[in-house]
Amino acid sequence: MPLDPGFWALQALNALQLSMLLFLLSIGLTVIFGLMHFVNLAHGSLYALGAYVAAALATVGGYWTGFFLAPVAVAGMGILLYSGLIRRMRKSGPMAQVLVTFGLIFALLDLTRIIWGDIALAIEVPSLLAGRVSLFGIDYPVYRLFIIALGFAIFAALALVLKRTQIGAMIRAGVDNDAMAACLGINVERLFFIVFCVGCALAGLAGAVAAPLLSVTPDMGLQILIPTLIVIVIGGLGSLQGAIAGSLIFGFVQTFGAVLAPQLASVLIYALLAAVLVIRPMGLFPAKG
C-alpha cells in the first residue's frame, strides 16, 4: 500500500469530486421530499436527460451551451411533469408516488433511447477546463476541481437563499409544517412548483457536469439513482446539511473503500446505510426535530 501523502491527497480530492456530483443530485431530491413529501424516483432519469441534452447541444454550440441550457431544458421537463403528474399525485400515499415515478423511469429510459440511440455518447471537457494543475504537489485535472468548486458554490448559494431570503424562509416554513405555512398566507402550490423546477434544473446541471467525465448512456440515470437515495437517507430527508453530509460520507466511504478494501467497497456503503437506519431511522440531519 503506497503511503505517500500525495496519494492520499489525490484520493481525498477524488472523494470530494464524487461527493459534489452526488450533492448536486441529492439536494434537489431531498428538498422536494422535505417540502412536498414526494419521492421522485425519476430524479436519476432527469439527470440522464440533462447529460443527453448537454451532449447534444455540445456538438452544436460547444460545452458551455450545454452547460447552461441543459438545466433549463430539464427544468422545462420538470414543468411538464409537475403540471401533468406530480400536482395530482400530491395527496397520494408514498406508494402511489413511488410507482408513478417508477413508471416515469421506464418511459424516460426508452424516450432517450428512441431519441439518442443505444450507443454511448460523450462530450469533451471544454478547453478552458482542460488539462491539470499542480496542487499540494500533485497533478489534478482542472475539470474535477471545477466540479468540486461548483458543488461548494451551489451549496453556499442554496444555504444563503434558505437562510437570508424570503423564499428561503417560506421553504423552511413549508418543510417544517406545510399546513401552518399555508395558514400564514404562503402560496404553497407555487412554492412547490418553484422548488420542483429548481430541483429538476439541478439534476440537469449534474447531468451536464457529469457528461464529460463519464459516458452518456441510457441507463446512467438508473445507475446513479441508488447512490443518490442512499445519500439522502443517510443524511436525513429534507435538509441541506443532510444532503451535503450524506454526499460527503458516500463519496469518502466509496473512494477510500475502493482503495483500502476493494472487495467490500460496494457492500460497505449498504452496511453503513443499514446501520444508520437502525440507529437513527430518520437519518443524521433530518429536517424536522
Binding site: 489525490l10 454511448a120 460523450a122 485535472p141 467525465l213
Partner: protein, 390 residues
C-alpha cells in the same frame, strides 16, 4: 416487424409451418433491449449482410426468427425454448452475454440444436462446458488477451498494473494476459478489479496504478465503462508516463468516437478492427457502410461471420440440426478477419489477433494495425466431446 408472424404469443399453440426442404429456420437470440442493444444491432446487421451477399452460394434459403433476450438469462431461456420446441428452428445464432449463454447451454446441448455464438466469450463455453452443438464464431476471453503478454514483453514492457471490472469476463481476460505475460518474464506490480457497472469514478484506482511503479497499465473495459475509463485515464494525464494497453474492446470502433482524443495512442489487441488490410475486409467495410451508414465493429463482423459459417455449413448439404452441427464444426473460410477455422476439439474459432493503436485519422479516430499475431487454437480447458463424425 421484430418477430415473425409465426411467433404465436401468449397462450396460443403455435402451428409449425411446414418448411420447404431447403428452407432453414434460423433463430436469432439477441438482447435487442437493455445495455447491449447497440451490440445486437451490429450483430444483426452483419448477419443479414452475409445472408444477402453469400446467400446465393448455397441452395438453402433462410428464414429468420428474432427473439429479444433482454440480457436476462431466464428470459433468454424461455425464448430459446420457444425457438427450439415450438418454432422448431434448425439452427440458432446470437447470444451476447456469457450469463445468457450459460443459461441456454444445457437446453441447446440437450435438444441437439446447433448454436452459433456471435459474441459471448466466456472460456468455459468452449472449455469445460463445451458441446458439439455450440460453435463459437466470435472469440474467447483468453484468446484475445493471451498473445498480448509475450508481445508486450517483446516491446520492453515488463512491469504492468492491471485493471478490469469485477466479473467473470473481466477476470478471465486479465488472468489469461497475466499468465502469458509472467511466463514471458513480465511482472504484475498491481491488480485491481473494479465493481462491475457500478464504478462511475475510476479516479481512486488510477491513483493506485500511478503509485504502483508500473511501466504500463493493461486493462479490459467495454461499453460505457470503456468510455469513462479512457477519458478519465487521459484527464489525469497518465497516458504520457504510463501508456495504456488492453484488450481491444476498450477502444472498439463502436465507442472510440465517444472517447475522442483521450483514446489516441492507446494500444490494444482484438480479433478485428475495421482497418485490417485484406480484400475481404475492404469489401465488407464498404458493404456494411452502404447498408447501415456505420463503420463495422467487431460485433458486426462476428454477426457477419456467424452467417458465413452457416452458409458454408449448408454448402455441404447439411439441412437438419444434426448435420448442421457437424458441418459447423469443420467450417473454414477467408473472411474480413483473415483465415478463420473452427477447432473441432473445442468448437472455438481459430483466428489471428491484431494489435492496433488508436490514432487520429482524417474523419476522426482510426486504427493503425501494429502487428498481426498468428492464430492459435485455445487449450482444451477441460473440454471433452465426441469427435466430428463424417
Amino acid at each position: 416487424m421484430k418477430t415473425t408472424i409465426l411467433a404465436a404469443l401468449g397462450f396460443a399453440t403455435a402451428l409449425s409451418m411446414p418448411a420447404s426442404a431447403e428452407e432453414i429456420k434460423v433463430g436469432l437470440l439477441l438482447p435487442y433491449s437493455g445495455v447491449y442493444a447497440a451490440l445486437s444491432n451490429d450483430i444483426e446487421a452483419g448477419f443479414e449482410l452475409a445472408l444477402e451477399e453469400y446467400g446465393a452460394e448455397t441452395e438453402a434459403t433462410f428464414a429468420l426468427l428474432r427473439e429479444d433476450t433482454e440480457v436476462k438469462p431466464p428470459v433468454a431461456l424461455a425464448k430459446a425454448k420457444k425457438l427450439i420446441l415450438q418454432d422448431k428452428v434448425d439452427v440458432m445464432a446470437g447470444i451476447v452475454s456469457s450469463g445468457v449463454l450459460g443459461a441456454v447451454r444445457d437446453l441447446v446441448h440437450g435438444a441437439g440444436v446447433p448454436l452459433i455464438v456471435a459474441n459471448a466469450g466466456n472460456d468455459e463455453a468452449t472449455g469445460a462446458q463445451c458441446s458439439p452443438f455450440i460453435t463459437r464464431m466470435s472469440f474467447s476471453n483468453g484468446q484475445v488477451n493471451r498473445p498480448m503478454g509475450p508481445w508486450m514483453v517483446e516491446q520492453g514492457i515488463t512491469k504492468v498494473f492491471t485493471l478490469a471490472p469485477d466479473y467473470a469476463a473481466g477476470r478471465q481476460m486479465i488472468d489469461s494476459f497475466t499468465e502469458t505475460f509472467t511466463a514471458a518474464g513480465g511482472e504484475i506490480v498491481g491488480q485491481e478489479f473494479t465493481p462491475f457497472q457500478k464504478t462511475q469514478d475510476f479516479g481512486p484506482f488510477l491513483a493506485k496504478a500511478k503509485a504502483s511503479g508500473a511501466q504500463a497499465v493493461y486493462v479490459f473495459y467495454a461499453g460505457g465503462e470503456a468510455i469513462s475509463f479512457v477519458k478519465q485515464y487521459d484527464s489525469f494525464g497518465l497516458k504520457a508516463d504510463l501508456p495504456l494497453y488492453g484488450s481491444g474492446f476498450l477502444t472498439s470502433s463502436l465507442y472510440v468516437n465517444a472517447e475522442g482524443p483521450a483514446a489516441e495512442g492507446v494500444i490494444t489487441a482484438l480479433h478485428y478492427v475495421p482497418t485490417i488490410d485484406n480484400p475481404e475486409n475492404a469489401a465488407f467495410v464498404t458493404a456494411f457502410e452502404a447498408k447501415t451508414g456505420r463503420i463495422p465493429s467487431e460485433y458486426a463482423v462476428q454477426g457477419f461471420d456467424a452467417a458465413r459459417a452457416l452458409i458454408e455449413a449448408t454448402k455441404t448439404g447439411a439441412t437438419d440440426r444434426e448435420s448442421l452441427a457437424n458441418a459447423l464444426r469443420q467450417v473454414h473460410f477467408e473472411g474480413p478477419r483473415g483465415t478463420l477455422s473452427i477447432d473441432p476439439a473445442t468448437n472455438n474459432i481459430v483466428q489471428p489477433i491484431y494489435v492496433y493503436e488508436t490514432i487520429a485519422g482524417e474523419g476522426g479516430l482510426t486504427q493503425k494495425v501494429l502487428a498481426e499475431l498468428p492464430a492459435t487454437a485455445d487449450p482444451l480447458n477441460g473440454c471433452t466431446m465426441a469427435p466430428v463424425s463424417n
